[in-house]
Each structure stands twice: as C-alpha cells, then as structure tokens.
C-alpha cells in the first residue's frame, strides 16, 4: 500500500503490524504513481491511496501512461468523493473524477455504495491483473447489496423505463421511485459497463440516472447500450461548476436538489 501522506493515522495499526507492506511516500503524486508502476513491473500489486483530486488529477498522465499504456496492474483507492471534504473547498473536491478517468482506456472503475460493498468488490478485483479505481465516499447506502464486480444488480422490475442508481445514490433512487412502474438497476462497476443488464431491464426506452458525480458522466454509456435506438435520458447529478459553499456534504446534497421529494417529482415528470 502506498499512501500519499493521507490516511497515515487511519492505517497506523496495519503499518505497525506489517511495516513492509505500507509506504507513506510523501506529497509527490506524480512520483507516487511512477513509483507504484515500478513496483508493479517487478510483480507486486500496488494499492495507492489519496484524496480523489490528488490521485486523479495531480498525476493523471502517470495513470494514463505508466499504468494504462503500459498495461500494468495497480489499484487506486480514493477518498473524498465529490465534495465529501465540503468545508475544505474546491481544491479538495472532485466530482469530475469519473468523467476524467473514463478517458483512460482499460481502466476499471468501481463506485461502491457502502464499505462492505467495497470490501467485496476489492477482494474480487484486487488480483485481476488490471488497473482499477475505487471511489470511496462518506455518503453511503443504509444497506449493502449482493454486488458482483462488473455486473449491475436488478433490484426492481418495471415497464415504464429504468432508474439507474450508482453507488451511494441507491437509497435515494429506491425511495424516490417506489411508486413508479420502473426498473431499478444498481451499478457499482462503471468500467466495464454492464450494458446487457441495462438492455434487459429496460422495457420502455427511458432511462433516469442518479449520479453522485458530474451529471451526464454516464450518459454516453446509455446511448451506446441502446445504439441506434431513440432513448430518452435524464437524471440527477452534480452540476458542472465549482461549488463555492462550505458546510457539510449533506448541506451540499440538499442544496443541489438531492432530496427525496425533489427527485421523486423530477422522476414523475421524466417518466410521464
């Protein structure tokens, strides 16, 4: 495990028990990823951890080239999804991480909805030989689903379209749509994207996506899933602007209209 001087206190017990397995490398993100690539070249599986903007944006080219282009296996676990670090301001926000990382071919992307789901998904994908990004979030679902890497879970079946819930947006999706005749499809793996499940679940071509990151990030995948057919796509996501407020993440979610009543009403309009 390679830490970018983040989470050091949290991992102190592991560091003590297994000092050879943890490196706090310091605040040098480009070299951190290059270093991890060197480890991977010698047959190790580096697990790199930092706050989302620092692990995605500060060293994006290293992710692209040192791991993507070189086809090495590394596991990149971020914390501070979207605006979890609300009071810290935009330098510590990263609602754009998924949109950016979708640009690296072959990089797997996992957005678990709970800590337990992360454990399952990480265990399953840790040694798969690919590079994978895991997005940890303070916002979590109350319950854990039976998740499988690379597969979406069909949690409800309906005829008027599909609600896609991604990671921590599941609770909101289930409650806001409970009176609607729609399928609810739960994604925790975004790359590879389970288009088959989406096609099977969708009886009418209307898809409403609740994204815990920049709105529209996953829209192209829906378009490709229904390639050539007319599909109505809408949803809820983080607006593409710098969020200038501080406070808490829940205050941000509320301010951005992620309340049950608002989303329910938007879904009713969408599916009508």
């Amino acid at each position: 495990m390679v830490l970018g001087d983040i989470g050091v206190f949290g991992f102190r017990a592991v560091t003590e028990q297994k000092p050879n397995s943890v490196v706090n490398i310091g605040v040098l993100e480009q070299a951190m990823i290059g270093f991890a690539a060197g480890l991977a070249m010698d047959g190790r599986i580096p697990v790199v951890h930092s706050i989302a903007p620092f692990i995605v944006e500060r060293c994006l080219e290293q992710l692209k080239i040192d791991f993507g282009y070189q086809q090495l296996s590394g596991k990149f676990v971020s914390v501070g999804a979207s605006f979890d670090y609300a009071s810290a301001g935009c330098t510590h926000h990263c609602p754009e991480d998924i949109a950016i990382l979708l640009g690296i071919p072959s990089l797997e992307i996992v957005v678990p909805g709970s800590g337990d789901e992360f454990s399952v998904l990480f265990s399953k994908s840790y040694a798969n030989g690919n590079s994978t990004y895991y997005r940890l979030s303070e916002t979590t679902n109350k319950s854990t689903q039976d998740v499988h890497f690379g597969e979406a879970c069909l949690l409800r079946e309906g005829t008027q379209g599909t609600v896609i819930a991604i990671g921590p947006t599941l609770d909101l999706a289930l409650i806001a749509s409970e009176h609607l005749d729609v399928s609810v499809l739960y994604f925790t793996t975004l790359r590879p994207f389970d288009s088959d499940s989406l096609r099977k679940a969708t009886k009418s071509l209307r898809v409403f996506i609740i994204e815990p990151f920049y709105e529209g990030t996953m829209f192209p995948d829906v378009v490709y899933a229904f390639s050539g057919r007319d599909v109505r796509i809408g949803g809820k996501g983080v607006p593409r602007r710098f969020l200038g407020n501080y406070g808490t993440r829940d205050e941000h979610w509320a301010d951005l209209g992620f309340g049950i009543d608002t989303v329910r009403s938007e879904m009713e309009d969408f599916f009508s």
Partner: protein, 264 residues
C-alpha cells in the same frame, strides 16, 4: 558479467541516419548524444544475458528520454534483441518500433517513455522492489537535461536518496538542449544537494564512461552527469536545434554519410 561486447558506433550512426530518412522520422541528434552511453551500458555494465532471457534478475535500463530511442533500438539490434526487419520498419503503421519506446515489445525495453519525467520515478519503484527482495539487479535511468525541468524528476530524486537506493543510477545526458528555455547550471551540484553521489564525465569518452557507469556507492544513489553534445558525430547537427526532429534529404544524407566515414 557477460563477455564484453563491442559496437561500431560510426556504423550505428550511419544506420540511424538511413532509417531516419527512410521513415521520415526520428530524433537523430538526441540519439547521437546518448549513443556512447547506451553502448557502454550494453557492452560493459548491464547483465545482458539476463536481459536477453527476460530474467527477473536482469538489470533494468530505462531510457527516460524516450525520443533518443533510435540509439537504444540499434544497440538492442546489435545484441540480437531487435530484428533487422523491425529496425527497417521503424515508425511504419504496422511497425513494431515507434518514435518512442514501448514497454515489453522486446526484452530490453522496460518502460513506455516519451513524455518526459516519468522514467526516474519508475526506476525508483523498481529499485525499491528489487532491494526489498534482496535482488542484485541494478536499475539505470537515462534522463535528459531538458527533462530535468520536470518536477517529477526531482520528486523521484527525493525518494531515491531518502530510501538510500544504492542499486539505482541516474544518468543525465547533459547536452544543454534545455538551455534555451531554462538554464540548469551545475546539475551535479543539484543532484548532490538531493543526496546523490555525483560523477561528472565526458559523455562521449568510452573509457571514462566505463569507469563512471560502473560506480557503486555504499550509501547513496549515484548520478552520472554525462556532458554530451547533441548531434555528436555530424558537424551540421551538433548543437543545432533545427535538427531536433528532422530527417535529412538525400543530398544531406550523402554528405552526412561521407562525414561519418571520414571520422571512422
């Protein structure tokens, strides 16, 4: 160590010119400035037999200034790791070899470089891993002076000395091509301040290179500042930025080949 190899560098310079004109590609002066360095590494320093086998105990050479790759490709050709036909199809659409190295297409190419500043950090990761498993393999990273503008180089340098990576050598091809943007002054002093043991050497003197590149320090990683001339070997190309990424026309090629034959 394997038997000492010998390379005809005039012949290789000619071959680099010829392939460059055939393909219309190649960073000739950069390849020329590092040719002696790469040839000494392969003739006298690296455990080439292990490299040819792809062994986990092979020495690792990372050409971080990837645009100098023609030098590496032709030395690997001499060693038998790259076929003539692949050299001949340099930069062609379906060719194996491109304008920058791609990792693992053949033994001896350890990293996909081309964007400056990546190789030294990768070398640090490799050296760390090798040291942890008590391997005797060593890691060599060849960077350029322009490349030393990149912060990632200095991040890697911090890590190298902090972790006392005595199995790591950073070689700087100091041909001053970066001077027109940023003057770096005494690069040796800079690496020394970052905790490296520094050796300055004439980057075109085979004997002196053999001594410098074989240096191992008991405490620190080593930085060899190889003072070179970009485009070394051809008067018109030496220190002439017009030739950085250009391929000669036929008439120029004739003149260059004549000059190289005369210098043999």
């Amino acid at each position: 160590m394997s038997r000492k190899l010998a390379f005809d560098l005039q012949l290789i310079r000619k071959a680099i010119l010829e392939i460059s004109i055939e393909s219309g590609e190649g960073h000739i002066p950069s390849a020329f400035s590092i040719l002696e360095i790469v040839s000494v590494l392969y003739s006298s320093i690296l455990n080439v037999e292990e490299i040819c086998k792809g062994s986990t105990e092979r020495d690792r050479f990372i050409l971080s200034k990837g645009h100098g790759c023609l030098a590496l490709y032709f030395i690997l050709g001499e060693v038998g790791l790259i076929r003539r036909s692949d050299l001949a199809s340099f930069c062609s659409f379906d060719g194996l070899l491109g304008g920058h190295p791609k990792r693992s297409i053949v033994h001896g190419i350890e990293a996909s470089t081309g964007s400056l500043g990546h190789g030294l950090a990768i070398a640090v990761g490799l050296a760390t891993s090798l040291k942890r498993r008590s391997s005797r393999a060593r890691v060599y990273s060849l960077i350029g002076d322009g490349e030393c503008n990149e912060g990632s180089v200095w991040e890697a340098a911090l890590l190298a000395s902090h972790n006392k990576l005595t199995n790591l050598m950073c070689i700087v091809d100091y041909n001053h091509s970066g001077d027109r943007a940023l003057l770096l002054g005494d690069l040796g002093k800079k690496f020394d301040s970052f905790g490296f043991t520094v050796i300055d050497v004439d980057g075109h003197d085979i004997n002196k290179l053999e001594i410098a590149l074989s240096h191992v320090d008991q405490t620190n990683p080593v930085a060899v500042i190889a003072h070179t001339i970009k485009g070394r070997g051809l008067k018109m190309m030496e220190n002439n930025p017009a030739w950085h990424h250009a391929s000669p026309n036929l008439e120029q090629l004739r003149d260059f080949l004549t000059e190289l034959s005369g210098n043999a």
